[in-house]
Symmetry: C2
Subunit: 326 residues, 2 copies
């Protein structure tokens, strides 16, 4: 385990334990099978980053409560619901190193279990009796579904540009991170300024996190990643490393890259060549640099808060987005 990860865990282990308990206790389905499917996706080794962001955002606003871990599960349930629907979309066969739910059960069952988790998130949000919290959660789901649809519609398109990529990852990932932080601030009844800065932190972290995730897809270490080699590419998803490199490359290299990208049955050798091209034309460095900028912005947003263990944890989480290997 990296030193940074170790330090973070030291600061948040207690929260992670409470989040784990809350995830189990709040599932609450009337029907056994729902519990089984939801558990399959929920308890297969997620990082619980999103609920953790909510809890830390609350605490940095001097809010401490016994029930915010309960509320935080909203953001893991939402995430899990998207994974269930996304696996169907992606026709992926591995997720976190395990077969995806729609290969164990069938597509419809996985879809309905996703619906249940979505509904459960919104019910838990509704229990707060706070329209601002509920609105935030409802809007997250609107953005996420639209981001996924946009990505799906542009699947396989070689002309997807950076602007479109940014729009997709904003909807798909950043809005959820942002929402988790915002809800943390809202339940702490903090100032509007602090709410905005925490939201900014979450949004920028989300963007950086997704960029780093997209870079990881162009490594060959499938053990730590728990998914197939070149999974994004096989699903026709163009991400920043490729988008940038395609644009930067000359006609010959571009054509070669395009051939690999459009051939869904690309070999490991092809894939290695593509990774080489991404390095050669700066796609890897550009993505890393961009992610670093967003991490810097995220950390900047925390300036308003005085130093504390909670602030340290949030700062380290931002750094971790850049260096994580899985």
């Amino acid at each position: 385990m990296s030193d940074l990860k170790h330090k973070i865990l030291h600061l948040v282990q207690n929260d992670l334990d409470k989040i784990e308990v809350a995830l189990k206790e709040n599932l609450n389905p009337h029907i056994d099978i729902v519990s089984k499917i939801a558990s399959h996706i929920l308890f297969s080794g997620g990082k619980r980053l999103r609920p953790l962001l909510m809890v830390l955002s609350s605490r940095i606003c001097d809010y401490d409560s016994n029930d915010y871990h309960t509320l935080s599960v909203i953001f893991e349930y939402l995430h899990a619901a998207t994974l269930l629907h996304d696996d169907l979309v992606d026709e992926a066969s591995l997720r976190r190193g395990q077969p995806v739910a729609n290969l164990i059960w069938d597509n419809p069952t996985a879809v309905l279990a996703g619906d249940f988790l979505l509904a459960r998130s919104l019910s838990i949000a509704a229990q707060t009796n706070r329209p601002d919290v509920i609105k935030t959660v409802a809007q997250i789901t609107e953005y996420m579904s639209q981001g996924e649809i946009y990505q799906l519609m542009r699947r396989g398109s070689l002309d997807l540009d950076e602007e479109e990529y940014m729009e997709i990852i904003k909807c798909k990932t950043a809005v959820l991170f942002q929402g988790a932080c915002r809800v943390g601030a809202l339940i702490a009844d903090t100032s509007y300024k602090k709410e905005e800065e925490l939201s900014k932190y979450g949004f920028n972290l989300g963007i950086a996190f997704q960029m780093a995730d997209d870079l990881l897809d162009y490594t060959l270490n499938t053990t730590t990643l728990g998914k197939e080699v070149g999974a994004d590419l096989k699903e026709g998803k163009l991400t920043l490393p490729v988008i940038y490199s395609l644009k930067a490359a000359g006609a010959r290299d571009r054509s070669q890259m395009q051939q690999i990208i459009t051939n869904k049955a690309f070999s490991l050798k092809d894939f290695k060549l593509l990774i080489h091209m991404i390095h050669k034309h700066g796609g890897q460095k550009y993505t890393q640099d961009q992610a670093a900028i967003y991490v810097r912005n995220a950390k900047e947003a925390l300036k308003i808060f005085k130093d504390s263990k909670t602030k340290q944890a949030l700062l380290m989480l931002a750094d971790y987005a850049l260096v994580r290997k899985a």
Copy 2:
């Protein structure tokens, strides 16, 4: 058009027109394709019964407002979202006489468009700033997804009993009708007693409506129905007419019925024989009688309200559940 339908339309045409406008105005997707898919399912000739129930429930509590038609779209969006996910589940090829969305687009797109409609419903609910309204809407979605999953898990099971059937149609249909009526009462800030009675009306109407719907599947008139002959049966869904008849029949007839039911490639002749059996063993009459009891209960619940055009419309809608042909 039947005389009853004509009378109802005369009373509610103005509301239906306003609901139609609100359905278009509130879709509000950021991405074109979302609007296209959602429109395909939303504007292919639905009855708008659920939003209408909300509006009439408000009005019978003496609430009149310019914006309740907007709020009422929640219940049509929720309904449409379920249809989009349900079509995937059902592998049906026709819905309201048109090809289902997942045959025009693909499964993932239809699922994501359903997610968007679900999220949109909850956003509109959140805009009311009323936790009671939002909770009701969130709970509806929880019940619906669980009802669908339960139905799916028991698909093809010949031993599904009446109690399980009731549980399924409660979750799938009645809770949405009930919720529409309850939200109508809630925004009217009426008495708890009136809220409860309207909810009872909605719940009972929903049950009756679903029973009548399930009976319609055992008619041969696919033109008015807009779906395939024996669609429920092909999807392995046992409904009350069949459940009752299987239980009432002697060993020989039961065995013959079971053979038809388990053979998904049953012929029209087989299906006609099954309909004959359902008549012979009382499944049709029993379902009709049960639906009539729920309609009576629904109408009973309105006793608390003084006579008005709105009350007339709600009473007639209850009667219509029994006689409708599509």
